[in-house]
Amino acid sequence: MRNISDKNKTILSAIVLLVGLIWIWTSRVDAQSITQDHIATPQIGFVAPDFSLKNQTDESVVLSEFMGNVILINLWASWCLPCRKEMPIMQRVYQDYKDKGFIVFAVNVTNQDNRSDAIAFFEKNNLSFPLLFDDTGDVSNLYRLHSLPTTFFVGRDGIIDDIVYGGPMSEALIRTKVEQMLKDTP
């Protein structure tokens, strides 16, 4: 037979569970307040901060104008070995998925690099995705760059889906993420 102490434990447990249910009820939120889509900051689940940078032909490229595509923003420098290693990998994936709405923006941290080296590297490796120059370091600051390379995967809705610090990224990693994001946000 169960002793009185166990009975008390059962009653106490029931009270704890009931309080838990009330707490869950009071913790409800509407989806709008829990999603972070109204704030632009470089973190998963938030809107990718907008920027405008010049490309090789000195035309301005504005990130927000490409919303609706799956975007890979790669912050890199020509002297950074892992950055150099992953560029051809990104090119192969870009080649395979660009017609499905996949774009790569190679944002060169030009304040720590120089344009001619970046352009030479692009030409040598036949890289065809847009090369953008962050001459002032503003975009690096905006994206809180801590290490090179850093890669942001941005969904069609403009929300950051994933961030990869360091490199080189494997081809399988880029492919799986891009395939998933193309599927998730048609």
Partner: protein, 251 residues
């Protein structure tokens, strides 16, 4: 927030470093406490090492099987050091399976094992929010409380700090309970008490998180899971000890 620690040319991912430190401290600590629960330190080391290795292998294998197309082009990517190429559920299943096989072969009582790893888990329960503090993950909801912190474009509840403090409180409580031998009649209750504590922690603190996944009606998924775990913990604590009253803690 310090996601990357730059040491010369090497960029160390701080959250990963904190988790590794947690494992190391947890193991060192578990080595001292596991004897209380009739488990040899070498078995504890073996079990955790096997679980981690099997977990990583299982997580990678499951990820590869789910994304065969991506690996077909570059099969050597299967051995990539990239931690993003892991499937957590596959990892958990393989890790748990490896532990089951080990304890069956060594004839280790499952409850003894769960009690033995409780201090280790309590330390991991501190290192995970600390890792989140470094990475900025697990962030809080927007608040105007004076102790709010500026993070991700708004003033937010410092949930990583709440969770770290809760982790310290839980660890202290667990150690006090073990030390005082307060549950000696029900020696395997320490694990059930631990899961009651962490479920209650998650149930309470999830309200202040800004990254909760919600389901229909605006309910936070983690709270619902925590409530179920809490119920299981309470049932274990009340019911199961009666079957094994005679075994005492070895303190």
């Amino acid at each position: 927030m310090l996601p990357i620690l730059q040491v010369g040319p090497v960029a160390i991912q701080t959250p990963g470093l904190i988790i590794l430190l947690g494992i190391w401290i947890g193991l060192s600590f578990g080595e001292k406490t596991c004897k209380w629960f009739y488990l040899q330190p070498e078995d504890l080391y073996n079990i955790i090492t096997i679980a981690i290795l099997a977990g990583i292998l299982g997580a990678r294998l499951t990820f590869v099987l789910n994304n065969l197309g991506a690996f077909a082009i570059k099969p050597l990517n299967i051995f990539s050091l990239n931690l993003d190429l892991l499937d957590p559920i596959g990892g958990l299943l393989f890790g748990a399976l490896a532990i089951l096989i080990y304890i069956q072969r060594k004839k280790i009582n499952g409850w003894d094992l769960l009690n033995s790893v409780t201090p280790f888990l309590a330390i991991m329960n501190i290192s995970i929010p600390l890792a989140n503090l470094a990475s900025g993950n697990g962030f809080g909801a927007i608040t105007n409380r004076p102790w709010g912190v500026n993070l991700w474009g708004a003033k937010r509840h410092p949930t990583q700090i709440y969770e770290t403090l809760a982790g310290f409180i839980i660890l202290t409580a667990i150690l006090i309970i073990i030390k005082r031998n307060a549950i000696s009649r029900y020696h395997f209750s320490i694990f059930s008490i631990f899961i009651i504590f962490i479920a209650a922690e998650r149930l309470f603190l999830e309200k202040f998180r800004g990254d909760s996944v919600t389901i229909l009606g605006g309910f936070r998924t983690n709270q619902l899971i925590a409530w179920i775990v809490l119920a299981i913990g309470l049932i274990l604590y009340i019911k199961i000890p009666h079957k094994n009253e005679s075994k005492k803690l070895k303190t």
